[in-house]
Symmetry: C2
Subunit: 259 residues, 2 copies
Amino acid sequence: MEYEANKKLIGIIGGMGPMAGVNLSEMIINETIAIKDQDHLPQVLLSVPQNIADRTEFILGSVSENPAHAIFSMLKKLGLLGVTVAGIACNSAHAPAIFNVVIDELNKSKMKLKLLNMIEEVAKVIKLEFNGVNRLGVLATTGTVKAGQYQLLEDYGLKVVYPTEAVQKKIHQAIYHPDYGIKSVTGSISFKSRQQLENATRSLIYEKVEVIVLGCTELSLAYKTNNFGGVPLIDSNRVLARALIRAIDPSKLKPWRQK
Amino acid sequence: MEYEANKKLIGIIGGMGPMAGVNLSEMIINETIAIKDQDHLPQVLLSVPQNIADRTEFILGSVSENPAHAIFSMLKKLGLLGVTVAGIACNSAHAPAIFNVVIDELNKSKMKLKLLNMIEEVAKVIKLEFNGVNRLGVLATTGTVKAGQYQLLEDYGLKVVYPTEAVQKKIHQAIYHPDYGIKSVTGSISFKSRQQLENATRSLIYEKVEVIVLGCTELSLAYKTNNFGGVPLIDSNRVLARALIRAIDPSKLKPWRQK
């Protein structure tokens, strides 16, 4: 098969949640310059949700099993298929306590596979496409906020602003609530989730942020536009999709557009 | 990993087109009873579009390479990962000239993998959920219509009605046109495509069909509802999604609903 000869295949670690993996796969297609099926880039999405402990629960200490090991097992599977560059469709999995363990296991192995870091890719996009921006808001799960991986953006000279604790609790419910949360209600976004997220977004704008990072792949599903009240929204899952395309064929990457 | 122990993993042959594979993956999630990430079923989507000749062009004789061989190579890759049941997210690939060759290669191999037949699954759903229906319309690519795989439904006592040749040409354009076709315009459906498809749908209703099968996975993307002018639409990709869930865990399948 040709993709073995040219040794280029995108891999997606999905299942965290499952829809975020599908969404990343879809965005790779949407961000690729193509006019027929055969122009699209080869990719494989592996989604094995039942094996991966909840990332937020691990970060907050309520489960002890590090999801890193299940993630690395999935990477090995992708390696078997010839994947050369991979991404994890989950912000919380980029918490240093998880992501660094995956990178360590990957380095110890002999796999020729490059794992991109979604958070680093977000930082690069902000420097490149939003030059001059200083204050940026982050909407994410409580796990991501507590684990602090978005602090990495401060290394790039950016000021990271999170919602207040009370608002953060609402965001978390909008994603995780068993009755109306995005992870439970598949196929649409509940009115209550949308309302809680919009309130949270407004609270960040009130804090004078210049751009807002959707720092949870589930939020990609809730926000269909790229701005809110005039403030650009940066979808971390979309940023990762674009970085994966660039890694295997930059000539096929559509120009960045803030819709 | 648990999915090796219980030996159950859904495989999707995607890339024909790429968005149809993603759509099948998404529908597996949407049709599964789940309230948290870990409740969802394990699946892998392999999409290698550049290796698979256009199915319609092969059926119509303008390319000589049978896509069956590329499809079988992908199945072997899925087998490596432990896939136990697989589906192909493409109606045209179910043309006997393609699908039967894949099945032959699969039977000759020693792989323990069951490949579902999307068309057979559509027939089963009609008998089960639309009992008493006799006349059914099919909207599909010209390749699918000429290859005649939907004639299989006549074995189930159903009368299959296709659009006239002139209307069929418009459907084909709505899918394949390089400027406005569904395969070219990713991320949305062009006004012209939608108009041509609606006209085609109306022409079938005029022929007194009782249900309409969306017999091209690209059409899943165009029709967001499950009926048109009161006539139920049956999305072949959704039917395949449900059959894949049933094959690995029937207890997780949502009841059929004609939205």
